[in-house]
């Protein structure tokens, strides 16, 4: 298990050096997206007014407040990723996103896109909004404000992490590996508990 301290934007070369189970912290830009952001992009064909190339995107619906023209953070946490799986291959292939940050992981199609285009899925610790909010230094921009709290957010972050590489660009899927290992152990667990199948 290696620990990586990275800076955005991420190059293909950097992404290829990340392996399932590694820990990542990074500085720089982080985009916030959610269900509605991606429905707007992919189902309603709106092109983001800012480049996402080389950048990480986190699955979030942040609590923010607008003071004058400036957005201030209140609480930024992470939501379950699987709901947004169907948008992910396009996000990677079309817009050059290099890392998806969320909890719970994504499916096979997203894993394939990560292999083909050099991208990763970074698992954050669910429930750790206090820490995430502290590591977000500034809300730099909110695009498509009418979609808030599911707009497109540009955050500046410092030492954002720890994040676990849960899906890497070499085809490894940590959640699936762990699940398979548990499946292998189940008959022994049933036997020990006297469970009749």
């Amino acid at each position: 298990m290696a620990t990586h301290h990275l800076q955005t934007p991420f190059s293909d070369n950097v992404i290829r050096q990340l392996h399932a189970g590694d820990i990542v912290y990074f500085n720089g830009t982080l985009f916030g997206i959610r269900d509605l952001t991606q429905i707007y992009m992919f189902d309603q064909n709106h092109v983001p007014p800012v480049s996402l190339a080389g950048m990480p995107c986190i699955h979030t619906a942040p609590s923010l407040k607008k003071i004058g023209e400036k957005w201030e953070k209140i609480c930024v946490g992470t939501t379950t990723s699987t709901r947004m799986d169907r948008f992910t291959p396009a996000l990677i292939a079309q817009y050059g996103v290099k890392a998806i940050i969320g909890k719970g992981g994504l499916y096979e199609g997203s894993l394939k896109a990560m292999q083909e285009y050099a991208a990763v899925y970074l698992a954050i610790v669910g429930g750790s909004a206090a820490l995430e909010t502290l590591q977000i230094q500034e809300v730099e921009a909110v695009y498509w404000e009418h979609l808030h709290p599911e707009a497109l957010y540009k955050f500046r972050v410092k030492d954002f992490g720890p994040l676990t590489v849960a899906m890497d660009s070499h085809g490894r899927h940590l959640y699936e590996e762990v699940k398979e290992e548990t499946r292998r152990r189940l008959p022994g667990i049933y036997a020990k508990l006297g469970i009749v199948e």
Binding site: P62, C75, S128, P162
Partner: protein
């Protein structure tokens, strides 16, 4: 009826919601510490460190641990010597939860089931959830507040087995639920199991199971043994913190039971995430409030 100022209940309801969201109970903190000591997987140990850092940040800055402020649940134990007006209590709990949401302020999560319109109050028809019970020879009102987040609540399961399925089916249901839900309930948390009762009571038992302090066992030694047995079994599954692999998949299995019908064998599971949030107040007839967990 003694002259009691019900405004006190409103203040307690508001304060309890905020306290629960920001200050994790000491038994949960200790359980997380003990779990970290036992964890050998390096990735899982990093997950634990992030959990501790989060708790530290929330303590230091008095902020929300998790952005999911949940649906408010108030569990009341009404002392036999406490002067109480049930309608007033219900009304004040509702106002208190609403005020916590708007005055802190934090995201309200309650929404209309069909229109999905969110009033940003954390309450609405049927909310807050209020449970009540009575205790003898006590002069205070005990209020336990639980902000229940959806990552774990969405993983709840219930099944009406038959007596012929025996205890074996109940244990398998617990193991299979943990297997299927994986990373979703933000493990390692508390797995609450209800056994017995009716379809509605069994889920209430599961809910009561998740609010028992970690480290306390069921008073019936046979049930306590079953808790330990299931806990060990779940912690041999290898799912680990956040489902990323590791030794610790749960902090505790808690079981609550009730008698059931001769033809029934019901089970319910209510999972609680690692931020197993709860707060408690004792309200006295003279208006004094003491806070705890």
């Amino acid at each position: 009826m003694v002259d009691f100022d019900y405004q006190v209940i409103e203040e307690a309801a508001k304060e309890l919601y905020i306290r629960a969201l920001c200050d994790l109970p000491p038994d949960v903190r200790s359980a997380l510490n003990r779990a970290y000591e036992r964890e050998t997987n390096p990735t899982a140990r990093e997950v634990f460190k992030a959990i501790f850092k989060t708790i530290e940040v929330a303590d230091e800055h008095k902020t929300l641990i998790c952005q999911d402020t949940g649906l408010p649940i108030y569990m009341l134990k009404i002392g036999s010597m406490f002067p109480w007006n049930g309608f007033q209590i219900k009304k004040r709990l509702d106002i208190g939860a609403r005020r916590a949401t708007q005055e802190f302020p934090f995201r309200g999560s309650s929404t209309h089931i069909i229109t999905r319109v969110n009033p940003q109050t954390s309450v609405g028809d049927g909310l807050p959830v209020i449970y009540y019970d009575f205790i003898e020879d006590v002069d205070h009102l005990d209020i336990l507040m639980i902000p229940k987040g959806s990552g774990s609540e969405n993983m709840s399961k219930m099944h009406m087995f038959y007596p012929a399925h025996g205890v074996s089916a109940l244990k398998k249901f617990v193991i299979d639920t943990v297997f299927e839900t994986g990373a979703n309930p933000c493990p390692p948390g508390i797995i609450g199991v209800g056994l017995g009762g009716t379809a509605d009571l069994v889920m209430r038992l599961a809910k009561e199971a998740i609010v028992r302090p970690v480290g306390q066992r069921h008073h019936d030694p046979d049930i306590a043994a079953m808790e330990e047995e299931l806990e060990d079994a779940i912690n041999s599954m290898g799912r680990g913190p956040m489902g990323l692999g590791g030794d610790i998949t749960t902090l505790a299995v808690h079981i609550e039971t009730a008698y059931t019908h001769i033809t029934q064998n019901p089970i319910a599971i209510n999972t609680q995430c690692w931020p197993a949030r709860r707060s408690r107040a004792h309200v006295y007839p003279d208006g004094r409030i003491t806070y705890g967990y």
